[in-house]
């Protein structure tokens, strides 16, 4: 409870920062006034905050929450602290689906999203077949399968991009790197409607995730129906990941950084970790997006660049440590 309260404050704080800081530079007090009090204004700063920054910050929070939770679930399910949708290629798979959707000229919703979901399920299936049964739990075999799936997905993505020869090309590439700047309030609404039930479902399953970490046999003899739970967790997570990918492309390593951080601080109880990842992951993503906005002297960079710059070195460090 205390943890949730603290993290809520943190999330609110970073979101506030995210709203206040931008290229047109309005000051902190102004943004609150514009957001909550001065409804009649209709001025330019008000439009910027309401229609650009607010949806963007909300999108970042949702995406960060979904990706952190995705990582947490995969780590519990595969009993592998290094598992993460991006590293395992699930995100890549849903990106392929989404790009197909874009090239075929589907609308963002439901066309591209459904394609992304199909793509992520297909990669998941491929991954499970490749590292079948018990070996799935072994770190090396799973990670190697993930690397291969990822390489394959990248190749397919590059192939699709090189076949595209019009204005959409730039959009696809920028979107691929994890771009949050295209947020609008409708998009955020759809994403929230899709993700919130998943968060609740996963919170409900959080004690079962604890039991899963005791190994399949022991979980089963403590009353867990392994098959149903595994399928539910995999499908829900793929759904969350593909929803975020179809919204804002490939943002990697969030699902690695956040669950790890919280496991170090809060321990391994998923009944605490699930809400912590939702709130903390949201805050982290808003923060990364903020960096992506303010670091370049001109223009902006995709937020996925920041998360990868922070996450990839951490991954290498963790891999090295777990090998000892």
């Amino acid at each position: 409870m205390l943890v949730s309260a603290l993290l809520s404050v943190l999330l609110a704080g970073t979101m506030y920062l995210g709203i206040s800081v931008g290229s047109t530079g309005s000051n902190f007090g102004d943004s609150v006034r514009l957001l909550f009090m001065d409804k009649s204004a209709g001025s330019v700063p008000e439009a910027i905050i309401r229609q650009i920054r607010l949806p963007r910050v909300m999108l970042a929070a949702l995406v960060g929450a979904a990706l952190s939770l995705g990582g947490l679930v995969f780590q519990a399910l595969l009993r592998n602290p290094l598992a993460e949708p991006y590293i395992l290629g699930i995100s890549g798979g849903s990106a392929i689906g989404a790009i197909f959707g874009i090239i075929l000229g589907f609308s963002y919703f439901p066309g591209v999203s459904i394609m992304a979901f199909t793509g992520s399920l297909a990669t998941l299936l491929l991954l499970l077949v490749m590292s079948q049964g018990q070996t799935l739990i072994k770190k090396d075999s799973l990670l190697l399968s993930g690397v291969m799936v990822n390489a394959f997905c990248s190749a397919v993505i590059m192939f699709l991009i090189s076949m595209t020869r019009d204005a959409r090309l730039h959009n696809i590439i920028f979107w691929l790197m994890g771009d949050l700047s295209s947020a609008d309030i409708g998009k955020v609404g759809i994403l929230a409607a899709a993700l919130l039930p998943c968060f609740i479902l996963l919170f409900w399953l959080s004690n079962i995730m604890n039991l899963l970490l005791m190994g399949r046999d022991m979980a089963q003899t403590m009353g867990v129906n392994i098959k149903i739970v595994t399928v539910t967790l995999l499908v829900v997570t793929s759904f969350m990941v593909s929803a975020t990918v179809s919204c804002c492309g490939l943002i990697g390593f969030v699902g690695l950084v956040i669950p790890h951080l919280f496991r170090i601080i809060l321990g391994s109880d998923h009944r605490i970790l699930v809400p912590a990842c939702v709130l903390g992951g949201g805050a982290y993503m808003v923060f990364c997006d903020l960096l992506a906005k303010i670091l370049p002297s001109q223009g902006e960079m995709p937020a996925g660049v920041i998360t990868a710059l922070i996450g990839a070195p951490l991954f290498i460090y963790l891999l090295k440590r777990s090998g000892q």
């Binding site: 009993r79 079962i208 403590m222």
Partner: protein, 267 residues
């Protein structure tokens, strides 16, 4: 006679490889039942079948009068607890968190513990002498301590039957007897049934009330330790020369494998 588990004409195979062939036996209430046998004799498979982890393809397992397949998962988990041989410690749970997990089959939808569950967990930790380690993380414990944590978790589950898969494997002598003493005390004080797979025939002889000797998926012998652990049955099961005499500690058999070098001298 009051059997808690009745196994009838049980067969099991992994694909084409037959692991258990036509097994039938009963386990009585309050028994300390030890399944022994050479590697690959089907001991662990039998235990996993009894735990309901894998389903019997052919044959029947009855638990307290009902087929084990008729039990819902949670209901089964309130009757049988299981301690597996390999224990995952990749995730740094604390000792009390792991022990408390034993309460899950008794919890409601949200899986939140009540005061009573915390008390049960505390008692289980006390019984296994883990109180002082309650807040330590399990990946910082020794093998013997870790095994005690998982036994405490099983105790916390408050079942009539506890199944253990080689709880003393890879433990030193002191920890082996400590674990076995613990299980014996548990069986007597809590009036439960213990079923254990063991590699160690001498531990089985010292602690078991009933022994089941398997070879290649079939029962070679079943009964009290001195009935099962005879020169003839053991040689038939293990296919090596063994010396069986009475332990200097009391009235149970002692099994000593004979090294090849000494066999040559005998010739």
């Amino acid at each position: 006679m009051n059997p808690v588990i009745t196994v009838t004409k049980l067969n099991y195979s992994y694909g084409k490889i037959s692991v258990l062939k036509d097994i039938s036996f009963q386990i009585q209430r309050r028994d300390f039942f030890v399944i022994i046998g050479p590697n690959g004799s089907g001991k662990t498979t039998l235990l996993r079948l009894l735990a309901g982890i894998i389903n019997a393809g052919d044959g029947r397992i009855d638990l307290l009068g009902d087929s084990i397949e008729d039990y819902a998962r949670k209901a089964l988990a309130r009757k049988i607890a299981y301690v597996s041989q390999t224990v995952p410690v990749d995730f740094p749970f604390t000792v009390s968190e792991v022990v408390l997990m034993g309460r899950s089959p008794h919890l409601g939808m949200l899986g939140l513990e009540k005061e009573k569950d915390l008390v049960t967990a505390k008692q289980a930790m006390k019984f296994t002498e883990l109180d002082h380690l309650a807040d330590r993380r399990i990946n910082q414990l020794s093998g013997g301590e870790c095994q005690r944590v998982f036994i405490a978790r099983a105790i916390c589950q408050e079942t009539d039957i506890i199944l253990l898969d080689e709880p003393t494997a890879s433990l030193d002598l002191a920890h082996q007897t400590r674990i076995m003493d613990l299980m014996e005390k548990l069986q007597k004080e809590r009036d439960i049934t213990v079923v254990m797979v063991s590699h160690d025939v001498n531990l089985a002889a010292m602690y078991g009330k009933t022994l089941l000797l398997l070879k290649e998926g079939q029962i070679v012998s079943r009964g009290k330790p001195d009935e099962v652990l005879t020169f003839q049955t053991l040689e038939a099961a293990y296919g090596c020369t063994l010396l069986v005499d009475e332990s200097p500690l009391g009235r149970f058999p002692r099994v000593t494998p004979v090294p090849g070098r000494l066999m040559k001298i005998k010739d």
